[in-house]
Symmetry: C2
Subunit: 201 residues, 2 copies
DNA sequence: TGTGAGATACGCAACGGTTCGTATCGTTTT
DNA sequence: AAAACGATACGAACCGTTGCGTATCTCACA
């Protein structure tokens, strides 16, 4: 998504890493100030105090700038909290995500995910840098939970991941209710019922 | 959302209802042809063969036009299929929604829901005309299912609705997998487990 | 170990193009 | 008489690009 972070320098003045960071920070601040839509390359340039040429040299459009800023802010996908029970780690991670969604990250995910519906490049970047890494972690924790027992043998992990996380994204976008701790626990609980080994019926 | 469908005519030439419909049709066709983003008021005007003033006189922006066109096309929220078992009606309705999501309606919902993230007016219109009416129907069917027995006594209906439908919306937007019949049945099944009366544990 | 040439980034300004939403015509319909 | 209609012009905003002169760095070569 970045313009060309790995480009080869064959002499000449190198691009300023400091500027790079300053642009990303300004972009992110702007989004949170005025909303994604109202942000323009010109605005980012003005806020950073650079010429917009400098920005266009590195990114193709504003979505790319903001996407990179978003990812850079995240750092590596946050590790799951410690707990020897895999399912409890999952629950805690759901709460962590929910808490993030109540703040800045929520606003950013909301905007980027929406924008991604209109921009295949952005959608790809979002999926690869946000969605898939996080799904992978959940996948692993669910695999471990399976080994620890209690979950059904024929577990459909992909569908299970959706059951745990889709409601959180749903509320983020629909605004049908708050993403409260109580709600997340409720989601966890009912999704977990769907994955348990059946006693009998 | 409409410009002023209920405005009072105090003499003068009345607005043409025929034009109104023609504009809505052209708007919807355009969205499906070129995508929401690429649609402009000018484009709708050109396709309809009217001046764009005529459109601006009735709607504030393109999102409003398309939203009204979308709603008009839907007609009243489709009734649930017949079946004496409430939970089976729910499952069938989920499949109906999924089928719609695989086609034109899916493309429209996806675009409108995304656009709504940037436009509070549009979000309100979407919630009131799409989301809430449909949630209400699910609410009622779940209430009936509760009376028919088998579901837990302390059922959280709002959370339950999310469990059944959020994964479908999730896949619509994330593209992590198809909204196939098998998937929907899987979602139904695991969500239903979360709502069942517990036998014991 | 210098040093100078070449390459590239930088800020700035200006450009043509597009789209938006508004305003202003004269005309048509009720 | 009043309001809708089509047509057209308009200013504003933003886009993405270009040209300019300057700044900064690398590399080749002495």
């Amino acid at each position: 998504m970045s313009g060309d972070g790995t480009r080869i320098t064959r002499g000449g003045r190198p691009r300023s890493e400091q500027l790079h960071q300053a642009i990303l920070k300004a972009a992110l601040d702007l989004v949170l100030e005025v909303g994604f839509r109202a942000v323009s390359i010109e605005g980012i340039a003005a806020k950073t105090g650079v010429g917009k040429t400098t920005i266009y040299r590195r990114w193709p459009n504003k979505a790319a700038v903001i996407m990179e800023a978003f990812i850079a802010q995240l750092g590596p996908a946050s590790r799951f909290p410690e707990d020897e029970r895999a399912v409890e780690r999952l629950r805690l991670q759901m709460q962590t995500t929910a808490k993030a969604f109540r703040g800045r990250v929520g606003a950013l995910v909301k905007a980027l995910l929406a924008e991604a519906q209109f921009d295949p490049e952005l959608a790809k970047a979002f999926r690869e840098n946000w969605t898939l890494p996080r799904r992978k972690l959940v996948f692993e924790v669910l695999e471990e939970a399976t080994q620890q027992g209690g979950l059904r043998k024929d577990l459909d992990i992909e569908a299970a991941i959706d059951a745990f996380y889709a409601p959180i994204y749903y509320r983020l976008q629909m605004g049908t209710g708050p993403i409260s701790e109580a709600y997340v626990d409720k989601v966890y609980e009912q999704a977990m019922e769907g994955q348990r080994q059946r006693v009998k019926r």
